[in-house]
Amino acid sequence: MEQNKEMTAQESLSLITETLNNSRKDILRSNAKYYMLWGALLTMFSLVVYVLWNSTGHAYWNTIWFALPLAGFPLEKLLAKRDDVVRSENVISRITGGIWLTFCVFACSVAIFDILCSSITKNPLVIIAVGTSLSAQIILLFGLAEAITGIALKNWIIKIAGFLTGIGGLALYYGIGLCEEQMFLFTFAGIVLFITGILVKRQYR
């Protein structure tokens, strides 16, 4: 690229459009690795919880889930360090990043609230209601975050995956009931998130 090249108005506008497009694609493509990271972690954690719950019969292994953000955020920081752009954000990446951060805060809050609620109350109905709805609430929140990500990225596959994981996951959850097999819903959600990363990478190639 030369600094003194005489450009026509059309050439200037083309250069601006091309540069903006390239940098937009670059930013969104570089975000794909975060979906893949969280997808892999979600899959791994769900399988670990399933194995421990299944072998001991205790649901308290679910507390391991609280280690997921503790493992995920440092790894995310590590990946971000390798980026060329220091703060590579545009409107879309800011929206999708915000959606998933909100999901994380809501999911942790719901889990903490449900655990506190069922340990304080003596009402067996509340304990049952809380115990049987936690995974349902989280899978719905996950589906919502995934579907909105699909809308923001204008990607039909991600949109449909969001609805399938949220609503389909909820239906499956009530079919499975309160047992360790419900962890497979999160294994599926993790795989969906990992594939989302692959799709984002391909969309902005």
Binding site: M1, E2, Q3, N4, K5, M7, A9, Q10, S12, L13, L15, I16, T19, L20, N22, S23, R24, D26, I27, K81, D84, V85, V86, R87, S88, E89, N90
Partner: protein, 96 residues
């Protein structure tokens, strides 16, 4: 009467740099070099010109042990970029 195109932005490399910075919060020198395909020396000179005009700010720091130069567009730079694009549109719309 057409508005005059900003001569500082009406240069291929400087326009590319300001276009990249208009789309991100900030970008480092390596990224700008990769995106524009310019040489380090040429890019440095153009960045200095944009900095002197108050269109961008340059911050020197470290990424681990490696030095890192970070560029960011200023509000004046955003305004100049917007005016430049508006002027280009007027030129193009006026074509028969």
């Amino acid at each position: 009467m057409f508005p005059k195109l900003d001569p500082l932005l009406h240069s291929e490399l400087r326009l590319a740099v300001i276009s990249i910075l208009a789309g991100v919060d900030e970008a480092d020198f390596t990224y700008l070099k990769k995106q524009t395909g310019a040489t380090s020396g040429n890019l440095s000179v153009q960045i200095d010109k944009l900095t002197a005009a108050g269109y961008i700010t340059v911050e020197k720091g470290f990424k681990g042990k490696m030095p890192r130069t970070t560029c960011k567009i200023t509000p004046a730079g955003q305004e100049a970029f917007k005016d430049y694009v508006d002027a280009l549109k007027q030129y193009l719309n006026a074509k028969p």
